[in-house]
């Protein structure tokens, strides 16, 4: 299903009723509710009145040309930024009102474009750091979980004690995915996960994401400008460049 209309305006009163009903049946894990964002107060709005639902068990692709606000949207979803207007709802709850640190460490796994792994730590240390930061308790020793995760992202176990600096871009990408999965979040967000990878690796990684969504019933959101990735996704949410949209509206 492809949603091209990004400016859906939902009436506030009826929205709440419909939301409550839909949560019982097919509640969105994550909902953007009329979200706008400007980096500076009263400045240029990067995102404007955006609404969209993201469901568990599906791979969502957010596409659009450069400057359309893809990374900004990702920051809003992952709770690194708070929308200037509108709400980001997680299971119907306003993210702005939640402890966003806890949300980031607990409920969402983010795979950053630049991976954001700590270069002087080993693979296992990076993954365990996230596990510990989540504050969750694990039924198995953390080392075992790391081994399992490395298998899941198709990395050999020997990599566990390798420093991040010694890994290639694709390998770092896999470690970043493993880290995002380590504390079993309900939502996984990836920013250009295949950006600088060869086609085979790209397919492999997309396979991992699909598996996570379909088998693990997670809500997977991928920001990409690659048509292949969009094609491999269950849903595509296309952002139009804001300037052009503005002109068209005029």
């Amino acid at each position: 299903m492809i949603t091209k209309n990004t400016n859906v305006v939902i009436d506030g009163g009826t929205e709440k009723d419909s939301e409550r009903q839909s949560r019982q049946a097919d509640a969105p894990t994550l909902r953007l509710d009329d979200v706008s964002y400007a980096y500076t107060k009263g400045g240029k709005r990067v995102l404007r009145n955006m609404s969209h639902d993201f469901h568990a068990g599906k791979v969502h692709a957010i596409t659009g040309p450069s400057g359309a606000g893809k990374t900004t949207l990702l920051s809003l979803i992952s709770g690194l930024a708070v929308p200037t207007e509108g709400k980001v709802l997680i299971d119907g709850e306003d993210l702005a009102k939640r402890d966003r640190y806890r949300f980031r460490s607990h409920d969402i796994g983010v795979i950053f474009q630049s991976f954001n792994l700590l270069p002087n730590l080993t693979v296992a240390e990076n993954i365990i750091l996230s596990m510990e930061a989540s504050g969750k308790s694990f039924d198995r020793p953390k080392k075992d979980i790391v081994d399992g995760l490395l298998g899941q992202v198709h990395l050999p176990k020997e990599y566990a004690n390798e420093r991040i600096l010694h890994l290639s871009g694709g390998e770092q990408q896999r470690v970043a995915i493993a880290r995002a999965l380590s504390y079993d979040p309900a939502i996984i967000v990836a920013d250009e996960p295949t950006g600088n990878l060869d086609l085979a690796t790209q397919d492999d990684i997309m396979g991992i994401f699909r598996k996570l969504a379909h088998d693990g019933n997670r809500c997977v959101i991928i920001v990409t400008h690659s048509p292949e990735v969009a094609k491999a996704s269950d849903e595509v949410f296309e952002l139009a460049p804001i300037r052009r949209r503005g002109k068209r509206n005029n």
């Binding site: 930024a81 640190y101 949300f103 950053f112 630049s114 954001n116 792994l117 730590l121 750091l129 930061a133």
Partner: protein, 574 residues
């Protein structure tokens, strides 16, 4: 828990940087330990040094005050003091007679002793002069001794009562050494005796064993016989020095005949019950010019005050040869001494008198280098700590900037900023605590030698200061008597001009003049080593200092961490 584990891991991971911080903190901590332990040792020495030792005190006339007062009264005085000391001499006689009226009697002294509960005990000595008779001659090692004693006699007899008063006071000021170590200060009073005690022998009457053990000529041991008793049954019992006994070929049981110093027709018969030997010889008798053989410790005849009384020579007697009284109060501690000083003021001691303690003064002057060192240590502490704080802050600042990316990643994966700040604080705390521990150890090891080394240089400085003062005063070892004269007249030599103009100056120059001869006989017994050990208090202070510095440094880190937005950091990176 997460914070602790992460902080510890991070400390282990960044060995190089942390070792650098440890080294810096160690240096700061070692310097701070030395400074703190020096201050601690100085404080301990100041408070506890005289805590458990008895302190002796005297009541003495504030002569400089009286002299300057009487000076202001006479109009001609200013002329005479400007011209020369010799012209001013008649005025001194007037002043002396003014001082004479102020002399305290034995009853007065005893009244003040009763007025304060801080006085543990009291004792006194009475000293008078006796002249030789044909069959009993003083010990003398110079040929012209009779000549010199003759001049002294004539000088003394010209105004006996005046000079007696003046020097009796002087005796009170510097008499009664507390123990053998201080016996030289007793020697000083002995030199005073040269100017005052006429005759060939000094007859010293003691009130009790305590007085005997604090004899002004230093402690002694009995060679033969035993010390006299204090009751009237022991009247006329005396002990004489071994040299005197040998000189006159006398032994225990013999009777000696001596005559009154001012009236050779009056003779006294005394029985020798013991012969003593001074165990500490006064060193200055070798160099000082002996005005009178009576001032030679060898010519001191010791007896009880009861004997003096029965001979009609005691302090309250009307005779010209009346003894000078030296009354000593014994307090069990320095604080008791201070209480005593307050109590006697309350009991009506006029402001013309001062309560002084040779022990306390000696002790305080012995602390001068230590106090200087303590001041130096404070300066050192301030400099070291401020430099240390700046260095730590700068290192932390660089550290946080360098680890900006780490902060970004940690906050991005959901670690609370407060937790990140706590982690950074903890890391610095771990590192500084290691540095503090090592520094305290190093400081403890070197603080004793270092502080003693510093103290030695302070003592040296103090001594060279004094010797240069002595040079400035133009008095050398050969004429210590001159400085005493200047004390009496307070108008001789270079000190006079300032002394006449300024009362405060007068006081200090007097003290210096006093210190001068003291230095010749013996060095002031400066506290030349301290027990600058590092105890729990110092460690506690060091910990506080360390925590304080760490807090200052981490405050900077915290401010920076809280300022960073993860999104910005990560955006900058990519």
């Amino acid at each position: 828990m997460f914070v602790f584990r992460n902080a510890w891991k991070s400390v282990i991971r960044n060995k190089g940087r942390n070792i650098l911080i440890i080294v810096i903190v160690t240096i700061i901590a070692a310097a701070a330990t030395i400074g703190l332990s020096i201050r601690q040792a100085a404080a301990t020495a100041r408070t506890s040094g005289l805590e458990n030792t008895t302190v002796t005190a005297q009541i003495s006339l504030d002569r400089s005050k009286l002299i300057s007062e009487s000076r202001q009264q006479t109009t001609t005085d200013s002329d005479s003091s400007e011209s020369s000391g010799a012209d001013g001499k008649p005025d001194f006689d007037a002043m002396r007679s003014a001082l004479a009226d102020k002399q305290l009697s034995l009853a007065d002294y005893q009244k003040y002793a009763k007025s304060s509960s801080a006085v543990k005990s009291t004792y006194y000595t009475e000293t008078t002069g006796l002249s030789a008779t044909d069959d009993f001659q003083p010990v003398s090692d110079s040929d012209n001794s009779s000549e010199s004693s003759g001049t002294d006699n004539s000088k003394g007899s010209s105004n006996v009562s005046d000079s007696t008063d003046a020097s009796g006071k002087q005796n009170g000021q510097s008499d009664a050494p507390p123990d053998g170590k201080m016996s030289d200060s007793g020697g000083m009073s002995d030199r005073d005796g040269g100017t005052m005690v006429s005759g060939d022998f000094s007859l010293v009457g003691f009130s009790s064993d305590e007085a005997v053990s604090n004899a002004s000529n230093g402690s002694f041991t009995m060679v033969d016989g035993k010390v006299f008793g204090y009751g009237s049954s022991s009247d006329d019992d005396v002990i004489i020095s071994k040299s005197l006994a040998d000189f006159n070929d006398l032994s225990v049981g013999d009777t000696i005949t001596v005559s009154d110093a001012n009236d050779s027709d009056t003779t006294y018969k005394l029985t020798i019950v013991g012969i003593y030997k001074n165990s500490t010889d006064s060193s200055q008798q070798m160099g000082g010019p002996m005005r009178s053989t009576a001032s030679d410790p060898a010519n001191a005849i010791y007896t009880s005050v009861s004997t003096l009384k029965s001979l009609g020579l005691d302090a309250d007697a009307d005779s010209d040869s009346a003894a000078q009284l030296s009354y000593t109060y014994v307090c069990s501690s320095k604080s008791d001494y201070e209480t005593f000083a307050k109590d006697v003021k309350k009991a009506g001691l006029s402001s013309d008198y001062t309560v002084s303690s040779a022990d306390v003064e000696n002790y305080e002057s012995s602390l001068v280098p230590l106090n200087n060192l303590s001041k130096f240590a404070l300066t050192l502490l301030i400099v070291v700590l401020s430099v240390g704080a700046v260095v730590l802050v700068v290192i932390t600042l660089l550290n946080v900037r360098e680890r900006k990316y780490e902060i970004g990643v940690l906050t991005a994966i959901g670690v609370n900023k407060v937790k990140v700040a706590a982690q950074f604080t903890l890391e610095l705390l771990i590192v500084t605590m290691i540095g503090l521990a090592v520094g305290a150890g190093v400081g403890a090891a070197v603080s004793v030698p270092v502080s003693n080394q510093l103290l030695a240089s302070q003592v040296e400085q103090q001594q060279s200061q004094q010797s240069s003062q002595r040079e400035q005063f133009g008095r050398d070892m050969a004429k210590p008597g001159d400085s005493n004269d200047s004390k009496n007249g307070s108008d001789s030599g270079d000190g006079s001009t300032t002394a006449g103009e300024n009362k405060g100056d007068d006081g200090t120059s007097q003290r210096r003049a006093q210190g001068g001869p003291g230095m010749m006989g013996r060095a002031v017994d400066y506290v030349s080593s301290v027990n600058a050990t590092v105890d729990l208090k110092v460690v506690g202070q060091l910990l506080l200092v360390g925590l304080g510095l760490t807090l200052v440094a981490t405050l900077v880190a915290v401010v920076f961490v809280l300022r960073y937005e993860p999104l910005q950091i990560l955006a900058d990176r990519s």
